[in-house]
Assembly symmetry: D2
Homo-oligomer: 417 residues x 4
């Protein structure tokens, strides 16, 4: 274990790195791009930049930096996301109405808080409580880095001119056949093992019973999804959960999100602009309802989160994450169980619930996870816009079953004979 | 095991009994009462009477009775609830628009199908497939008997004059203190054990791991709920799940459903009319969100469905069920773990999912359960309007977390020291 | 002018006649038919029967009959339509939730009020104030007779089996060519001339200036409307008012209301059931938006209400009204300006506003008309379900421009050369 | 009449002036301010700047400038407001989702079109058709100058920090008593008299009959409105039109728009920021429903548009218009009939309909007015953000009766004895 001094120094370095990455991600975006909210789920880039800053200001500087004065008294109201413990806040669906502070004022806010935070840490602050909150703040900001990219993708996509965030050319991948890997199951352990940072929802580590099962060795590809579509996947109610079919028909779903047809051929909008769908690459931006219907059509099922974690925890956390700078899932024509980390978040069959013995942290940061444990399904493994170092085998992401604006895909599972 | 002849004979007797009970339940209701749909969740009484009949007509007579002609070709469209496999159907929210067939025509439909069904069974029909479907149909009709009472309670309640279904006087109960029963947990078995009828969602029986836990020996009472209300239970966001708080504030919830204030005192609308709330009786008509908030306020939690089943399966299936003819939960000032069956369905902390290895039945009846395994929470134990013989230790009821029109209550649990 | 005694006697006779007609109109309807509300605009038959009774009870008996006790204290709340002056009332969109009082109890309510009202009038009551209110109540009930038929037509139409109110066969009419009648205009008078009953909105009679104009000699026929449809009438935005086009596309209008296609041929639902559209008969159940678009397509315009009244006031008030017992507009292959009264209400280009010097009556009955003078267009002439004796040259009916469930049609006008 | 050369030269000067004013009005706004749409009625500042430019590009340059190439092919879709004749367009409620083109690109678009347009006019273009369209485009842009200020006021107001567009201090006015001016009426003429520019909806000039009437000599003041509020104006249903009362209660109106309470005192948000309500100044931002209810409360009525025009046409078109640079209505303690022009648009009792003999212009510009002649009420006289030279005695503005985001006020009228 690090001494607190060493830990503080490491946190300063980590802090600078994480904070700088956020600014780099916002770099290609104009002030106009950064203020718009294209649907209630989406937050403006400017808001992400300010909210992550507010987190450090409120939970670290406001509580522990002697004499710290908030940058602007209005920011506590504007940039609180959902912490009921720290007071009233601006309604989420109205985040796109806030034209001021300007993008430039938000940048200044970031600089002011960075300055004060680094001062605090380098002035000998060594209380674990403070350092823990800084560390939490960094993981929190990494989550918002992923959200920033998910959200700006949606913002740009609803512009009739569909401008690109970036303009890299796409090189089509090589399709690979689907194979399966078998696991014996039995009484296994899941949950975080106590080494390094984790969120409270990954605890406590505990035993579960698993029947023998098999996992597909790679995510479902766009080519396979096109077969599902061609076979009437979006037309047959009996493939779908009841709520899923209602959602599908009400929204007129005919394909994954961001797909559209040009003269009969399917195209996809990406952060690098629109282009033809590449059959080799993993399908992305599908809802739980679609993932579940696809699995039923394929004669398989989705894995539980325990199955996924048991299979994945022996694998190195490597892959097409944000560090690879692809910003889109890519084909991997390798062999064996692969692409567990990065590319696409993988829907599991597990509702997002508390682990046995789960305790939320006391105070406002206890609102981080527990209160969302309803009406959501767990996804695992990170995706192509997840910052490296952020995801773990025990990491639990979660979204409602109808959501499609995140990089969500499908890995099949089966009961093993 | 019964011989098929004996089984057919037993089914004829059961059929007559179940079908007659439905008619008895509809007895106090006028044609006007039977046609109205007070919200999309509710179905008209007339519809329940016709739909349960359609079930036998479609899945038994239509398939197995030689030369059977449907009573009316329109009924297949009007009275199919949600079976995608058997064709198009009338939209659920519009069931209250169907003034014809009349209540009297529906009664004639019931008689015609009863006649044909009994004829079929008494004519030597002994195929297990047919008898299984008749048995399923009876359990299906029992579910609709409970729904009929839940639904008519809602229909009558939205009438500004709030007429009673029946007019029995209420005798207040005796409050009893709350005590706890401890269970060691370990590797236990849950799911139906294969003896007698069960729905497919109760299978397969399988092992689960349970940590030591305690269960409250009786459901939460109205008196305790009044304390929760007095302590600001409906005002403190931090007691609630995030979706729960949003639902609570959007709907202006200040108490359980069917409660209202008269000169500052809380009253409750029951099937026997409106009267003051009785502090001794179990609280009912609370949503999962409220049950969860209450448990958090009480420093406890809700049980998982496995904990509940493990605790309950050694208890006789007895209690304040429909046979007791109370039509409302009642206080039980006894001792020890009690009121597991009847009174109120008990919310569990378990989302409604497939058991490991679950397989839906083939064909239309396979739509009975599996396609609803999303966005719902499991409730256990039956309630005061559940027909006797219908509920079991392994019986899994399920509703969305915001629903309140069923007789749903709360039993607390705790991690055991 | 009648002496009050003679007037009271005439009112008793009129009262008996009008009240009996309401009951005759409800005759073919079951209790189930009479309780349902198929959309917020529609009221249940039972409600019409009770509300017209409440009108006499509240405004006549309650104020002027010594010692009169209301039949039921709840009825004042349940059956007040929109009179703010006489207290709170049940929300209009929830009229279909009121299963009790039953249809039979409403019939008893009608009998009790009839008895008391006739007693009052025959006991020598001769105050003009009272007799005026009775007369107003009769005209009010006649309006509800028309509404009862409009409303039950809608109720029956939303039943998937589309049952008929009655079952008379249809005899197709003979188409006639469209001709025009010219009027010189000038300074003319409109508004009620003071002889006999009128509503306050028909007063005061006043002068208006009219340019020379021509009126089509008969309403637009279904055959002509089919030409409009075939020519893309429902596809060309530039034919429509902006709000009209938005309404048309949002609701997917492709034809008049109650029309539907069977194997490519247009059929229409009528009070006598469904049958093929008859090209010769006047088109009905079109909105103002459609009427206006049709007129633009035809190179004409809609008449103003002053033009219509000026043209119509020299014509006898005769035609296919409720007395003809057709319950549907019919072709008239006659010659000259015709079908001004009955068949279909004719949309005018005039918004419903107060005449110069208009004064609403004092008290609750002053709410009868004035407060609806916004967002509505005037229709003239009565229709096939308007009770005879109810309509006049100066009679102003009014509906919002999107409404289609009344018998509304189109008569074209042109500026004259 | 001007020669076309002189007219072209005058138009070039006018063009430069109008176009420069738009840019000046946008001057205080950041890119972030200019992109947001705070409700469907509101358009972003950037959109106004681009749309007015598109108008000249589409209707003048695209049709008449030889070899003109559109600045960007996407702009025709993005910046068409409602012209069905010139093709598909971006949905109005989504104007705030368009982050690109940027504010700077829109400024460049304006410069490019300005250059081409001035080139065209100075190159000897003398066709009346072209010059008429340029003139129409200038009046069109003036309308959008007013809209720009109305809209940005709303945008800034929904920001929780309520920033000001500008920061001038307010100097309270002096209240003046209300007096009346009598008019004899008779057969008078209304509509544009043919001298100078007018919109098609002001034609043809025609005769109307007016009874004797009186007009209040100034608009209703905030002080008088506070009396209305104190007397329960927002609580008494019987003061309101039926639709008005429904709108009032559904929206929770308790005061004019932009008013709010601080410690019991009423404040108002203005383009110069928030400050206490000044009782002397004209009330503004009231809906037709409120204006009508106020008039009823005051024992008066609203004037018809013919009464207003007859009274106003002898008065010079002067007052607190945009040229005065107040950006808010102001008190005028003068004497006699005053403040007819500027300060606040005055609601009339007249629905917006076609004048007798009205003909819309052929082609796309014919969509300018006629298709909006439904569901709107006429307002007269211009307001404090109406560009000088834009309003006339015959000018007809129009809004739906529930709208409140324009500078709309009330002048009372009475039938004269």
């Amino acid at each position: 274990m690090l001494t607190t001094t060493t830990r503080a120094a490491a946190l300063v370095a980590g802090y600078r790195e994480v904070r700088a990455l956020t600014e780099r991600l916002a770099g290609p975006l104009s002030p106009e791009d950064q203020v718009v909210q294209s649907m209630p789920d989406v937050s403006p880039t400017k808001w992400h930049r300010a909210h992550t800053t507010w987190f450090f200001e409120t939970f670290v500087l406001g509580q522990f930096a002697p004499g710290y004065q908030p940058a602007d008294p209005a920011y506590g109201y504007l940039f609180n996301s959902y912490y009921e413990n720290v007071g009233a806040r601006h309604p989420r669906p109205e985040r796109g109405l806030v034209t001021r502070p300007s993008v430039e004022e938000v940048a200044a806010y970031r600089r002011a808080v960075d300055h004060a935070l680094v001062d605090l840490l380098t002035a000998g602050e060594d209380r674990a409580e403070v350092l823990d909150l800084v560390e939490l703040g960094l993981h929190h900001e990494q989550q918002h880095q992923e959200l920033l990219l998910m959200d700006i993708k949606h913002v740009l996509s609803v512009n009739p001119t569909a401008p690109a965030y970036r303009g890299r050319p796409h090189h089509p991948g090589t399709p690979s056949p689907l194979a399966w890997t078998r696991f014996d199951g039995g009484q296994v352990e899941v949950g975080h093992d106590g080494d390094g940072f984790c969120f409270d929802n990954e605890l406590p580590r505990h035993h579960v019973l698993l029947d023998p099962f098999s996992l597909a060795d790679r995510p479902v590809s766009c080519g396979e999804w096109l077969e599902f579509m061609a076979d009437g996947g979006y037309d047959q109610a009996t493939l779908w959960l009841s709520d899923g079919w209602a959602t599908c028909t009400q929204n007129g779903w005919r394909s994954p999100s961001y797909w559209f047809q040009v003269d009969g051929d399917w195209h996809v909008f990406t952060l690098d602009g629109a282009r033809p769908v590449d059959p080799a690459e993993p399908v992305s931006h599908v809802s739980y309802y679609e993932a579940d219907a696809y699995a039923r059509w394929a004669g398989a099922r989705l894995p539980t989160e325990a199955e996924w974690e048991h299979a994945a925890e022996r694998h190195p956390v490597e892959g097409n994450l944000l560090g690879a700078d692809e910003l889109h899932p890519r084909a991997d024509a390798g062999e064996g169980l692969r692409q567990l980390y990065g590319d696409v978040w993988e829907w599991t069959a597990s509702p997002y619930t508390a682990y046995p013995g789960f305790r939320a942290a006391p105070g406002a940061v206890g609102e981080y996870n527990g209160k969302f444990m309803i009406n959501q399904m767990v996804l695992r493994g990170g995706c192509c816009v997840t910052p490296p170092g952020h995801v773990r085998p025990s990491y639990r992401n979660f979204f409602p079953p109808h959501s499609r604006w995140m990089f969500s895909g499908v890995r099949l599972a089966e009961d093993a004979r």
